[in-house]
């Protein structure tokens, strides 16, 4: 059964008086337990598409459903808070806080039921993802790019959501680090039954994904490897 459903979504940017359509009548479905990759050339509209899934923007027409509910009727803020985790290319961590604190920020924002000891959860999560206690207590601007991206992934998971969205999560990382991050994302989908959607132009990720789409001229097409 589909967890996230995109139904006839259109999106355009106003360009003076004219509209420049980036997404045209896109429909697709995403399920639990799978890693999705969405490929596309630079400027093809990958980030734009992800921002609609992430409820950071709304489609000009069409709907995004979570289970059977339109996410705009859930409320964008609430949807972001309780249903999804986002991982950005630029990590987007709060620079003057430690890794553990960054995770606890997200945990304090969600309404989802979490274990009582959020402190322990934060450290365990970071440990699971490869950051020991010493690194967990470091302010994040003193961590490497790969380490920061792990923190960001841990933050996306910490709120106990089913959907993890990632925009070029390995864009700033070298190849080894990229492989490690891909392995983590795979584990999330396959071992933890999350729906993981990654937007990227890395073929490396596409190779590891369960399902791959390609965004081209505003259309989302299945991609054959």
């Amino acid at each position: 059964m589909s967890l996230v459903t995109v139904s006839e979504v259109n999106y355009f940017y106003a360009d003076g008086d004219s509209r420049r359509y980036i997404l045209k009548d896109i429909s697709c479905e995403f399920e639990r337990g799978k890693l999705y990759a969405i490929l596309g050339e630079s400027g093809s509209g990958k980030t734009t598409f992800l921002s609609l899934l992430a409820a950071l923007d709304k489609p000009k027409s069409g709907k995004v459903l979570y289970e059977t509910q339109d996410i705009s009727s859930i409320g964008f803020e609430k949807f972001r808070r309780n249903k999804i985790g986002i991982v950005f290319q630029a990590y987007n961590l709060i620079p003057y806080m430690t890794a553990a604190e960054n995770i606890k920020v997200a945990m304090s924002i969600t309404d989802n039921k979490l274990p009582k000891d959020i402190n322990e959860v934060a450290y365990n999560l970071l440990d699971y993802i490869g950051l020991d206690k010493a690194k967990a207590d470091r302010t994040v601007n003193k961590l490497s790019g790969g380490e920061q991206q792990r923190v960001a992934i841990a933050r996306a998971l910490a709120t106990n959501v089913d959907v993890v969205l990632a925009d070029e999560p390995t864009g700033n990382l070298d190849e080894d680090m990229e492989n490690e991050i891909i392995a983590i994302l795979q584990k999330l989908a396959h071992e933890h039954n999350k729906c993981v959607i990654v937007v990227t132009h890395s073929t490396q990720i596409a190779n590891q994904a369960d399902t791959v789409f390609k965004l081209r001229k505003g259309k989302l097409e299945p991609y054959e490897r």
């Binding site: 921002s51 986002i86 987007n92 709060i94 003057y96 920020v105 997200a106 969600t110």
Partner: protein, 468 residues
């Protein structure tokens, strides 16, 4: 890490920002705290003073009016107001206390502590203040205070009794106590070829409290006695065969005893009614003057301080709101990314706003509390200086009364003491509450603009636009 904890982390870890806020709020807080406590002190002083003081009026000969009338009617003769008429005016229901007073300067060869007279270097002069009201209006109105003994009796002011109240300094200088007899000389005895001595019994010793400086050494005695002494001195002149009747008349005219009047009214509001009532009883060239009486005189500097501090208060609040709004907005621009992250995590906007408010409010609380004390202390120094300057400036353009008037005593420099007594800067509950209220209102208004700024932020633009 809920919004309050994030705010505390923001304060503790962004120390540069915190320090700038602390300093700015502290400085502005000092100004606001100062203005608030000065205003309250002024209000307080005004209340105390208006409670304490009643308006002082006196009946005076209006020379301008007289010459104007004289032009129309050259026959017009200036009439004196009789003591009976004065008594009638004094009995008015508007009048709280009434008295009239003769003045007489005498010398003494036995007492020390008199005034030197520039014309007679070796002389030792004393000034008598005549009273008709045995209870002494000066005492009632707290210009003086009784150190020992008593005031006069009804009898002593009616009959010719040589009794006196002397100032404490003179009493101490001459070892005088109640019952001591002191001797003054007045006039010249043609028979003995010496000055004529008068013995007075001391019935009371007083201390000047809030009286014009020049009169702190006056000696109170019944008007009747002073008139008698003056008349005797005048009559004595007649015995000189070299003096013509004409000369004598002019001498008597010059050295005639005359009275100045003093009416303490119940209420400043009664003044106009009292004026009208009095005008019906006296010739047109007499007017009731209420010179800058104490209250008005003290009101002026208080009022000007009040105006200045009100202005300062408003300016400081406006300056605080502007600076803080601007600063917070600037700091927030630096933290757009952070705000974008909270919003992308689904944080409610009011909580992000709450974080900003707490960050500012905690720093403000510290700065405001500090400035409450320093501002209060500072304002004490500054406002007392302002008050002193103001009083000096005020005294420069004083007084409708001439020093010979009884009422003149009531507009003395010593009223400054009264004011200083009533005017005290203190940290009372009202000051504290008012100051915190103004402080926090200012903080709240200051975060409005930044909060508006936050609500306009779009996390997609911040996090995905531009650099990505």
């Amino acid at each position: 890490m809920n919004f309050a904890k994030r705010a505390i982390a923001g304060i503790a870890r962004k120390q540069g920002k915190t320090l700038i806020f602390l300093v700015i709020i502290f400085v502005l807080g000092n100004i606001i705290a100062g203005a608030v406590s000065i205003r309250l002190a002024v209000t307080n002083a005004q209340r105390v003073l208006s409670y304490k003081m009643s308006p002082v009026a006196s009946l005076g000969f209006d020379t301008e009016k007289y010459s104007a009338l004289l032009e129309k009617n050259p026959e017009l003769e200036a009439e004196a107001v009789s003591l009976e008429t004065l008594g009638e005016i004094g009995a008015s229901p508007y009048v709280k206390y009434f008295d009239y007073s003769a003045r007489l300067v005498v010398s003494s060869s036995t007492l020390t502590g008199g005034r030197a007279d520039p014309f007679f270097e070796s002389s030792n002069f004393f000034e008598f203040i005549g009273v008709n009201n045995p209870e002494l209006v000066d005492l009632k109105e707290e210009l003086i205070q009784l150190v020992s003994g008593r005031v006069f009796t009804e009898q002593e002011t009616k009959d010719l009794e040589y009794v006196a109240l002397v100032p404490q300094e003179i009493a101490e200088m001459n070892n005088l106590t109640i019952g001591s007899v002191i001797t003054f000389e007045c006039g010249f005895s043609y028979d003995t070829g010496k000055r004529r001595p008068y013995d007075f019994e001391i019935v009371g010793i007083y201390k000047a409290k809030t009286m014009t400086e020049e009169f702190k050494d006056g000696i109170y005695a019944p008007n009747k006695v002073l008139k008698e002494m003056n008349d005797l001195a005048n009559r004595e002149v007649l015995k000189d065969p070299n003096i013509s009747e004409e000369d004598y008349q002019s001498i008597v005219e010059t050295f005639r005893i005359y009275y100045t009047t003093l009416f303490i009214l119940n209420d400043p509001m009664d003044l106009e009614a009292f004026r009208e009532e009095t005008a019906a009883l006296v010739p047109a060239y007499y007017t009731v003057t209420v010179a800058s009486n104490n209250l008005e005189k003290l009101e002026a500097p208080l009022q000007s301080i009040r105006e200045v501090t009100t202005l300062v208060l408003y300016l400081a609040v406006v300056a605080a709101v502007l600076t803080m709004s601007l600063l917070i907005t600037l700091f927030l621009r630096d933290r757009r990314q952070e705000v974008g992250i909270y919003l992308s995590l689904g944080e409610r906007k009011f909580k992000v706003a709450g974080q900003i408010l707490v960050e500012v409010a905690v720093v403000a609380l510290i700065a405001i509390t500090l400035s409450l004390f320093t501002g209060n202390a500072l304002s004490g120094v500054i406002s007392e200086q302002m008050l002193a300057d103001q009083m000096l400036a005020d005294q420069a353009h004083e007084s409708q009364y001439s020093p010979g008037d009884y009422a003149y005593r009531y507009q003395g420099a010593t009223s400054a003491e009264q004011l200083a007594e009533a005017y005290t800067i203190s940290l009372n509950m009202t000051t504290v509450v008012l100051f915190y209220a103004i402080g926090f209102a200012t903080v709240c208004v200051s975060v409005l603009l930044p909060i508006f700024y936050i609500t306009r932020l779009n996390p997609k633009k911040i996090l995905m636009g531009g650099e990505l």
